[in-house]
């Protein structure tokens, strides 16, 4: 279960739900409520709230007219604000990433050997014929192994994979037996791999029984 942070938008909703009466408790709460709704307290946005409040008092009046221009201006402001905040977020994130990257580079540099040694190693020949060992780069070997593995898998799949018409050796050799005038059994009629555990247990039990039998004196 994920515990959610109590978000600002929720409490007013729950408060409203709990309140039985239609009228809000006080005007101050209303004002707070409006602010909590997340609208910045600029003049343009405050209008609808005032409208609401005004509405409560004078239901008979027609709603105030919003000109197109004002609404458009309002929308543009919104957009700009959103863009601004997004850009700020992006910049902050970029900074953070850049700093982390620098930190990693520093750490890696600290881990590597000093430059002089690295240059010397790069200049030295890769393998030596006379010595009894061969030096390999593990990355190369892994790539080679994985490619070889993929190649083997391809061959196996194309020869023995799904879609190929293969049968077991036993069935193959027994086919002739089926067509003889006197039908014979399969080439490998018995499955010696069946019940190995049972056979082992039986063998052990038999050995133990015989030992017991030997121990008890004959009557």
């Amino acid at each position: 279960m994920v515990q959610l942070r109590p978000r600002p938008s929720r409490t007013p909703a729950s408060a409203e739900a709990m309140v039985d009466e239609g009228q809000p408790a006080s005007e101050e709460e209303e004002a707070e409520h409006g602010l909590l709704l997340g609208q910045p307290s600029s003049g343009a946005a405050a209008e609808p709230l005032e409208d609401e409040e005004a509405d409560e008092e004078s239901d008979d009046e027609a709603p105030e007219e919003l000109t197109f221009a004002s609404a458009q201006a309002e929308a543009r402001e919104e957009e700009r604000r959103v863009r601004e905040s997004a850009r700020r977020d992006k910049v902050l994130l970029k900074e953070k990433r850049r700093r982390r990257e620098e930190l990693f580079v520093e750490q890696k540099k600290r881990k590597l050997l000093p430059d002089a040694v690295l240059q010397q190693l790069a200049a030295a020949p890769q393998t030596s014929q006379n010595k009894s060992y061969v030096a390999l780069r593990l990355k190369d070997q892994e790539l080679r192994d994985s490619r070889q593995q993929a190649a083997r898998a391809f061959i196996h799949e194309s020869l023995y994979g799904p879609g190929t018409n293969r049968t077991s050796v036993n069935k193959f050799l027994s086919l002739d037996n089926k067509r003889l005038p006197v039908k014979k059994a399969a080439a490998q009629f018995l499955n010696s791999a069946w019940g190995t555990q049972k056979k082992q247990n039986a063998k052990r039990y038999k050995r133990r029984w015989m030992i017991r039998k030997m121990k008890t004196p004959k009557k």
Binding site: R144, R152, T164, N165, V169, F172, L173
Partner: protein
């Protein structure tokens, strides 16, 4: 790494039966618990000039067969876990190259029997490789879709340039005989390149299914470029298609199988080619005239051959024979009747299944057998019996055979050779880079093993290992041609002497044999010469001992010649042993028979029956003496991997029935038969 399996009892067959080959009774241990499975064949490459065949297997082993010397396997390169060859080809000057999924091109040194060098192509896994018709350039097709051209220099190969890169992996390549164009088969399409510019001229799309729609991608497993501009392609939908490379269009399409057609090889004269399918069938296509009088010719599928049970992954076409190999591990050489000049036994089918080298050694004193596998050794003690019986009986065992030791070697390399000393206290084995020597000590029923450390480095890559009869000396034949002799004393190895290769040539010694008294050592090299070394005096002799000439008996044999059936055996003799108390008897065997040669009896001529089992008792003595001859052959135990004399009256025969091998192979293609 050592795995102890003390006291495990095998459930395989170990029967003891009496056998009488006309010269005494023997108890024979028939051993069938050697679980030997050969690796599948992946590529073959035929070399016309030397009539040799190079075969590479899935475990990385490369074998060279001499087709004119009765198909004998004369050289081999041991396998490696990381090397899986996908392509093999010969280049000019008898040079052999292979390329595999590890992305490297490898050249093999055929004289020194080792890898010359490995060059990374930097294109990912390599799927295909072909040599130019002139033999001086090498082309590889890689996983990333690039086709790379390499120049072959006398010492190495050099990267020249890349061709236009394609979208999917290049699975097959073929060069036009004039060297101007190249066909490359990929997934769902075939590209034709111009060699000079390296650009792709045509991209020919392949249908996924013969006149139909299929979800599975069509993989072009093989392409072949003929001199008239025709490109033949074989793909995974079971089609053989003929394309015109000048216009980039499909000329003809044949649907020959329900499964993949995986390989193609064209004869040098371009009048016939052979393809292999995943069902194990090999088809022969020939260029025949349309009508008897017309000059116009067309490709017709003439003969199907079903000699394999599993996928035929590779085929080759020599001037007189079709060669095929695949997952079922047999190498099949089928001579074509119309191309063979003399119709004798040479024109028969050859199926090479069993190794031409010895994989088993025996300790006579302790009745132990050492089995050699690719990455481990197994030590078994034979069962014993106290019963007796008459000829043909199977005696009951009082004690079963025991699996004493399972010895794994470290590293990715395959074991090349191994040996156990006659006393059973030493085990030696060699890989390409290391030599292992172990000392075994027996206390009552327990066995303990200790590795002898600090073995000299020059012992590695041995081709043959042999212990002397008294187990005091160790003989190692290296692949450089030299022979090392060492002394085994107090659990340590001490190098005594090294016989350097003769006459300056580097030639690896293939076969070794030591005399019972330990004074003489015989070795034969790949060029079929036999060298005899005196261990006592550390000198080399030629031919044989001690009169410095062929013995009387062998001279007689040479003069009279062998019986014609003897010469027609198609598997080589893998082991020869001598009876210590009866110098007149020689025991030898190949995969299908074993024979005891009695030098005191007359040699058979062509008219006598060679395979001569015991004649019925009703015949008189005189008749028996007349028909008896020196070669006592028995075909009871087959297929034989090893046979040796344990003591005066006991033989051990290690058999490997083919069914046991087939039962452990990968799954084959399903065959639908009516009524099942």
């Amino acid at each position: 790494m050592i795995n102890w399996i003390p006291g495990t009892y095998c459930s395989e067959l170990l029967t003891v039966s009496l056998f009488r080959p006309g010269m005494g009774e023997f108890k024979v241990h028939r051993v069938r618990f050697f679980n030997y499975i050969p690796s599948g064949i992946r590529c073959v490459a035929y070399n016309n000039q030397s009539n040799r065949l190079a075969v590479s297997r899935t475990d990385g082993t490369v074998e060279i067969y001499n087709l004119s010397a009765n198909y004998f396997q004369e050289k081999f390169f041991p396998g490696h876990e990381s090397r899986s060859t996908e392509a093999l080809c010969w280049a000019e000057g008898q040079r052999l190259f292979s390329a595999g999924l590890n992305g490297e091109i490898i050249e093999y040194d055929l004289q020194a029997l080792n890898i010359k060098y490995a060059v990374d192509a930097f294109g990912g896994p390599i799927w295909s490789m072909t040599a130019s018709p002139s033999g001086s350039q090498l082309l590889v097709g890689c996983e990333d879709g690039s086709v790379k051209l390499f120049q072959i220099t006398p010492e190495k190969i050099e990267f020249e340039r890349n061709f236009d890169r394609q979208k999917s992996r290049i699975l097959s390549l073929s060069w036009h005989p004039s060297g101007t164009h190249i066909a490359a088969g990929s997934i769902d399409y075939i590209s034709v390149f111009d060699v000079k510019s390296g650009s792709a001229i045509h991209k020919m799309m392949v249908d996924r299914q013969y006149m139909g729609v299929s979800k599975r991608k069509c993989i072009v497993w093989g392409v072949a470029f003929l001199s008239d501009g025709t490109v033949i392609s074989v793909d995974s939908a079971g089609k053989v298609q003929f394309w015109d490379s000048a216009t980039g269009t499909l000329a003809k399409s044949h649907l020959i199988a329900n499964a993949d057609v995986q390989s193609i090889a064209v004869a040098e004269q371009e009048d016939s080619f052979v393809v292999g399918t995943a069902e194990g069938t090999v088809f022969h296509f020939q260029l025949v005239p349309v009508a008897s009088s017309s000059t116009e010719k067309q490709w017709v599928r003439t003969k199907p051959f079903q000699h394999h049970t599993h996928d035929v992954r590779t085929v080759a076409h020599s001037p007189t024979a079709l060669i095929s190999g695949g997952t079922d591990t047999h190498l099949v050489i089928r001579p074509l009747m119309e191309k063979v000049e003399v119709k004798n036994y040479d024109a028969a089918l050859r199926k090479i299944t069993f190794p031409h080298r010895r994989l088993i050694s025996c300790s006579k004193k302790r009745q132990l057998l050492l089995f050699q596998f690719a990455h481990h050794l197994e030590l078994w003690r034979l069962g014993s019996t106290v019963a007796t019986g008459k000829n043909g009986d199977t005696l009951p065992l009082s004690k079963n055979a025991e699996h004493l030791l399972h010895l794994k070697t470290k590293g990715p390399e395959n074991i090349i050779c191994s040996c156990i000393s006659p006393c059973g206290s030493w085990i030696a084995c060699s890989t390409a880079s290391r030599f292992f020597l172990y000392r075994l000590t027996y206390q009552h029923d327990n066995l303990s093993l200790k590795r002898v450390s600090k073995m000299p480095a020059f012992l590695r890559s041995a081709v043959q290992i042999l212990f002397s009869e008294d187990s005091a000396k160790l003989f190692v034949a290296s692949n450089q041609g030299s022979l090392h002799v060492g002394q085994l004393l107090e659990g340590r190895f001490r190098h005594l002497h090294t016989f350097q290769p003769q006459s300056g040539t580097v030639e690896a010694m293939c076969l070794l044999a030591v005399s019972p008294d330990g004074d003489w050592l015989a070795a034969s090299g790949t060029s079929a010469g036999v060298h005899v070394y005196s261990v006592k005096h550390l000198k080399v002799f030629e031919y044989s001992i001690p009169g410095k000439q062929y013995t009387e008996w062998s001279r007689t044999v040479q003069k009279q010649g062998f019986h014609h059936l003897w010469l027609q055996r198609d598997t080589p003799i893998t082991h020869i042993s001598f009876h210590p108390k009866r110098p007149m008897h020689i025991l030898l065997h190949d995969a299908y028979m074993f024979c005891i040669i009695d030098k005191s009896l007359p040699l058979p001529n062509d008219k006598t029956l060679l395979y001569n089992p015991l004649p019925p008792k009703s015949e008189s003595d005189v008749v028996r003496r007349r028909t008896a001859h020196a070669f006592k052959i028995s075909k009871i135990y087959k297929p034989l991997l090893f046979m040796d004399l344990l003591d005066e009256g006991t033989l051990v025969a290690v058999e490997r029935p083919l069914d046991d091998i087939i039962a452990q192979l990968p799954p084959p293609i399903k065959k639908k038969k009516f009524g099942t």
